[in-house]
Symmetry: C2
Subunit: 261 residues, 2 copies
């Protein structure tokens, strides 16, 4: 991609994982409400344009969108128990601002960070069986949302905004329902965490795929190729060319499994 890629929420956990993995592959414009500092700031940040602004600051978002080829939109309140007012403002209204600005700036591709919480209540009657390797229940991304909290509602709303901006303005939009991103190894004693583990390496690779593949509108699951998975990776593999390298089953599962969430 010749133009820079705008990364909103660049300082968050997903943003840092992306920058560590594919920081050298793109020219980045990094937006975060806080300056990117700290020991684990990836080297890629040194060369990048940075914008310190809140995602609800429409003028700043519009300015940051000028001249970019794609946007990876991660910014938002990441707390599963975030209060509604914050979700409404940061996650729903903020995401609408990003799409609106992307359209007006002729940005072709929007990659939206959705969440497993958008479909968390599919697990309710099926846990813990669906976390087991011999259970073949799979969510594909074609199912209606069943959020497990208002945070999940806000992410589902972001997906629907993406669908609208795709249909109405012909933007390429992919929504990644991100699982459980942990750096070194999956949670060892938590079946659900193993089922939806996303390694840092696979995370960066998946967002790389989102920036390079041809697609129209997609909802994909963002997890590693875990034996315990109940999210299908078929669309991510087929449409985006996602080729995950990690599997939580390769890590010793110690102690008794914990049920539920």
């Amino acid at each position: 991609m010749d133009e820079p890629v705008l990364l909103t929420g660049a300082g968050g956990r997903v943003g840092r994982a992306i920058l560590r993995g594919i920081g050298d592959e793109y020219d980045w414009r990094l937006l975060d409400r806080e300056p990117l500092t700290g020991q684990d700031v990836p080297a890629a940040v040194d060369d990048a344009e940075t914008v310190v602004a809140d995602i609800t600051d429409e003028a700043a978002v519009r300015e940051a969108m000028e001249g970019v080829g794609a946007v990876i939109h991660l910014a938002g309140d990441p707390r599963p128990d975030a209060p509604w007012d914050s979700l409404l403002r940061n996650n729903i209204d903020g995401t609408r601002t990003v799409f609106e600005a992307a359209v007006d700036a002729d940005v072709e591709t929007v990659v939206f960070a959705s969440s497993n919480h958008a479909v968390g209540h599919y697990e309710t009657e099926r846990a813990p069986d669906l976390y087991r390797t011999d259970d073949d229940f799979r969510l594909t991304g074609e199912e209606l949302p069943r959020p497990s909290n208002l945070y999940g509602v806000s992410k589902a709303a972001g997906e629907t905004l993406g669908r609208y901006y795709h249909d109405e303005y012909d933007r390429d939009v992919v929504c990644v329902r991100i699982g459980n991103l942990t750096k070194d190894h999956p949670p060892r004693e938590y079946e659900r965490g193993q089922a939806m583990w996303l390694s840092h390496r696979d995370c960066a690779h998946l967002f790389d795929c989102c920036l390079t593949a041809d697609f129209d509108y997609e909802i994909v699951y963002g997890i590693s190729d875990n034996d315990r998975k109940y999210y299908s990776l078929d669309r991510a593999k087929e449409v985006l060319g996602y080729d995950p390298q990690d599997n939580s089953a390769e890590y010793t599962f110690e102690g008794e499994p914990k049920d539920g969430r």
Copy 2:
């Protein structure tokens, strides 16, 4: 139902159709931001408790919810081209307030007025063929939203809120994707309007079904049994006992059909 039914947005077109049709069947508590006046106010209004309040007034909504057995939630900005700020505040935040208040007041059943605009973009590649009687394309309510405008996005968000409040708090929730409500006859020269016509009589009957049937979480289409329909009525008939009496095909179709919307 022994307890009163709260009807929000009672003074709107759908609210008045409901009150004219089944006004005598229930004890109503009518909430609207304007006093219910005018020549076409149904007689049922005379005996009803009325609350003049905005749906964004959380304290008023909570007070109106006390002691009711069910709520039919129609209030919101009804304009397909409504500005986003109004949709965010009235339709998304307002609907969340209704669900939250219903849970806290132990109201068992919430009937949510969704809209055909939540799925309007399914028509884009299929119009005008899908408006024809020999076309068997059907939306069932199980498909993901494809809003045709931000109003449709706001209604899809309301449906997802309903899913969450059903799953999390075990409320009975039905979302009615209302078609094209007109009083006397369907639009005569507009194929799409004929396809999604909802007569006043069928409208009142459908909401009556929503108040009396047993269901968990449902998305149904609210149209008459039109020959030109591309919305399935199967779930409404099977789960709610909907028995529509009208069909736009019974009205003379004059002149050349108009394509599209």
